[in-house]
Symmetry: C2
């Protein structure tokens, strides 16, 4: 019997979503300040619930998508629910807009 070094931060069916009051403006802007993440957000606007694969251009490596979704989740921009063997992602528009009024709207308006 082999001991493994891999560990999960928590149970895989309960991902951690921050309270928006604990997200700084700099952290929120940092999450938005990346072309891949802006693309993920744009896709989630068009189609409000997507699994990880579908929320990114298909050339993007899985581990990269996973990291970008972690950043978006940590910034309170995305919520993730486990559904069967996939994770469904949604924008936390209401929560995010309550914390940073107008910010996401203004970013989306300027992304063309």
């Amino acid at each position: 019997m082999e001991m493994t070094n891999y560990s999960y931060i928590g149970p895989m069916d309960r991902l951690v979503h921050p309270n928006l009051k604990d997200v700084s403006l700099a952290a929120a802007l940092h999450a938005l300040a990346d072309p891949v993440r802006l693309d993920i957000i744009a896709r989630l606007v068009d189609c409000p619930s997507l699994n990880a694969g579908a929320s990114c251009a298909q050339a993007t490596p899985k581990s990269t998508i996973s990291n970008h979704l972690n950043v978006l989740r940590a910034a309170g921009l995305v919520e993730t629910k486990v559904e069967g063997r996939e994770r469904i992602n949604r924008l936390r528009c209401v929560d995010f807009d309550a914390r940073f009024p107008g910010l996401l709207a203004s970013v989306l308006a300027n992304k063309g």
Copy 2:
């Protein structure tokens, strides 16, 4: 006579300011996504023209301030003019807002 390795990108009295059409949304957000740079911007809102030293908390190293101002300049957020032995920085509010309408206002409104 000693040859030096130090070089300036251009004449020191003519700093490069980008045309805002060449600034991407991701680059603009990246420039905004840093506590030190947000602080610089806030100071320039309060006091519209400041030299490098005055645009940052006084504990910040000079080379660090210089780098942050480069990032802000490259994002079209700050313009710099040489005046005697100092460089006076100003926000390019009008230019930036023409390129990214509402974005800077919404960031400033959310920075408290």
